[in-house]
Every structure is written in C-alpha cells, then in structure tokens.
Amino acid sequence: MTGQYTSEVILSVESVYKSYGKRSVLENVNFSLHQGEVLVIVGQSGCGKSTLLRTLNGLEPIQSGDIRFHGESLVHSKVNWKKVHQKIGMVFQSYDLFPHLNVLQNMLLGPLQVQKRDRTEATRQARALLERIGLADRERAMPRQLSGGQKQRIAIIRSLCMNPEIMLFDEVTAALDPIMVSEVLDVIRELAHGGMTMIIVTHEMGFARAIADRVLFLDSGRVVETTPGAHFFTRPASMEAQAFLDKLLIRQQEVVPVI
C-alpha cells in the first residue's frame, strides 16, 4: 500500500455490462481509478476479473456502459487505440514476449515503431530499466533462453518503455513457480512505490494485502465491495468477501502443515 494517490480520476468504469452470448460476465460494474492508485481486483476464478481488465484495454468489447480514460470514452468505434495503448500498458499471464526478437528488440519495438522515438534515447531507457531489474547482461538473450520469471519481468519493463500512465497486470505470476513469483512481485512493488497507477488481478493474497490502496472484490461479475486495502483483509464489508477470505485461509492451513 502506497497511500500516495490523489483525488484525480484518470480511469472510470461506469455501469459496464458484458456477456458472452446469454451468459453474463460483468454486471453493472462501476469504479474509478485515481492518479497513483494501486487497485487490486480479487475474486474466485471465473468471476470476471481478467475479462474486466481486458475490457479496459479494448481487448474485449462490452455490451453497455462506459469506460472513460481522462474523461474520454473508450467505448465507441472512433477511439484512437494506438494512442490509448501507449498510455495503458498491460502484462498478461502467459509469457507474451515476441519469441523471434531478443530482449532489447522486444523492448524497442513499441518505442521505435509506434512512438517513432530516437533509437539512442529509447535504447538508453531500455538499458536503464534492464539495469533496474538486474538483467542488464541479458539484453541480447532470446526469450527461450530466459526463465519464466525473467520473461515476465522483461514483459513488465517492455510496457514501461512506452511510458504508460496506467499499468494493468493480469495474473502475471499465475504461471510461475513460487521462487520466481517473488522476483516478479518485487518489480511490481517497486513500481507502486514509484507512484505508478495500476490495476492488478492476482491470486497472491499476501502481495495484494501489502500493495493495495483499494481492493475491488468481484463475485459472479458483480462488484461486491471496493474497500481500502488495509480493511479488506481484516474486516471486509460483505459476507461474500468474508466467505472468500475464510476459504483461502482454510486452504492455506491445509497446504502448510502446522507443527
């Protein structure tokens, strides 16, 4: 939890409905994201967390409602996605590096092709970011030569190379083994402390608890509560959230034997 966010709303989600055919996935979802805020979305698998995140980036169309980025609607056909995608970065669960490009080429594709930036300047930024995550010596490596954790960290800084205003994280540690999870979470934590605005979908409750300014709890596509991070894990407002947390707690006890 960073606690440094301002009252300026940069992204707002208003009465969003989404369905796949007859099955509704998101029902009347409302929330707003403030400058510098870390919003963590939690809920059971299949509750619509990832779908919600993907609607914010134009990867999933919605049936009704509105999503506004700096007051401008992202829900009509004339949205300048090229511009918006530069401002809203996203990292996915599965490794999304381009396998035919090396680390540096992966990071420079957006800055050079989309933003038409100067190669020297963009390379300097990419190298500085690699330095920060301790992978400065891997800039020529191909993705297949990297571990899962390294790939995810590079996917994160590849997004950062675009200088986004918001970062979206879609279960970025779900495919990693436990040792790699923490190295990826450390990068995200450092970003949060740097004041990056972000929305994180995660199953890592300890991490969520440590980093969330607010927690949005989704259940069957509905927002059940949006609670400050400090409160959600100790005294959630809703019965559903309480049940969800209890279930997690029991499962954790089953996994870790008490001696």
Partner: protein, 224 residues
C-alpha cells in the same frame, strides 16, 4: 541407352537449355508473384471482416476445383476472344500459376498465423502496434519459418505442374524433348533425359524442405 541419352543431350544442348530456361523462368516469376500474392491472400483469409474471409474462401475453393489444363486453355482462348487482348502463352501460364501459387501460399500463411498463440496478437496490440505493423513485426516473422517446409513442397508441385504450359504453346523443356523424340525416334532416351531434368530441379528443393522441417520443428517448443 545411357549413351544414347548423353548423345542426345550433347547434340541438342542449345535447344534443351532454351527449354529449361523457359521452364525455370516461368516458375521463378510465378513464385515471386505467389509470395507477394500469398501474403495478401493470407491476410484476406484471416481478415476480421466476413466479406473478405468468405469471398477469398469462395475463390480458393473454386480455383482448387478446376484442373490446371482447363484454367490455362480457358484463359488462353477466352480472354483474347472476350476482351480483345492478345496474350502470349507464357503470360497466360505465369498469370495462372501466380494465382494458383498465391492462393496456395495464402492458405499456408493462414494456417501458420492461426497456429500462433493468441497472446502474440494481444500483446502486440497492447503496445500500440497498428494492424499492418503487427503483421510485419510480430506475426509474419513468426509464421513464415513455419510455412517454409510446406512452401518448398508447393515449389516442387509448381515445377511439375509447369509441364502443362505446352498446352498453350509455350516451348518449354517438355515440348523441346517431345520434338527431339519425334525427330530422333528415341523415346526412351528422350524421356529419360526429361525425367532426370525434373529430378534435378525437384530433388534439392525436396531435400531443403526436409532440412527446414527438422530445423523448425525442433524450435516449435519455444512457445509456452
């Protein structure tokens, strides 16, 4: 017979080279157009617009259903008659082979594009690449190595199908041999030379296909 064949090659070398030249030229030009047309046709086949997808599919099925001699003869005789356009046999052959090659290459490209993980498309989009940029920098570079082996097979098919051009009066290697056989009355030696020539054209390509297949199939596990 081997001696006869060698004699036959020696005494007709300029004619044979000439035929080979026509055969190879038709194939090379058609291949070039096929690659360019194939990229375009493949993109059409994958388009998000139904009209492009369905019309290209319809064209593909139609074109595949018709035998090559029919396509060649129909173009050769009907186009001049209908449009008053004089087409040489070679132009007709190159046109028909190019369209055929484009359609088949397009299908290979479509298959390769569809085999790429969806995440490649999404993460390319989410760093702001436009659709043409996405194809150029992310999707095609990954798809093309995957089609090389089957692409090579397409080339050998094209080499063999090229023998159809004699129907529209192009004097290619097949026609030259035919004429030599008629003149010398040495069918065995003549057609033996033809067989060897086609083998020499196709065998290296088939071998290359095998090598590429081995190389890229061992890399196929890179996607997780």
């Amino acid at each position: 017979m081997l001696n006869t064949a060698l004699n036959l090659v020696q005494s007709n070398s300029s004619v044979l080279w000439n035929g080979l030249f026509f055969t190879v030229r038709i194939i090379l030009i058609s291949l070039l157009f096929s690659i360019l047309g194939g990229l375009f046709f493949g993109a059409l086949r994958c388009s998000s617009l139904k009209i492009f997808r369905y019309s290209s599919r319809a064209f593909l099925e139609f074109y595949r259903a018709l035998p090559m001699p029919l396509l060649l003869l129909a173009t050769f005789f009907l186009v001049p008659q209908t449009f008053g356009l004089q087409l040489s046999g070679e132009t007709v052959a190159i046109t028909i082979f190019s369209i055929w090659g484009s359609v088949e290459t397009g299908e290979l490209i479509r298959g390769a594009l569809e085999s790429l993980p969806r995440i490649q498309y999404e993460s390319g989009r989410s760093i702001g690449l436009s659709v043409p940029q996405l194809y150029r920098h992310v999707l095609f570079p990954q798809a093309l190595p995957r089609i090389l082996p089957s692409g090579m097979n397409l080339v050998t098919r094209m080499v063999k199908t090229s023998s159809n051009v004699i129907l529209v009066g192009v004097v290619d290697l097949v026609k030259q041999i035919q004429q030599i056989v008629e003149r010398t009355q040495e069918p065995f030696a003549g057609y033996f030379v033809l067989a060897v020539a086609f083998f020499i054209l196709c065998f290296p390509i088939a071998q290359l296909a095998k090598i590429l297949e081995r190389r890229y199939s061992s890399k196929a596990g890179d996607y997780e």
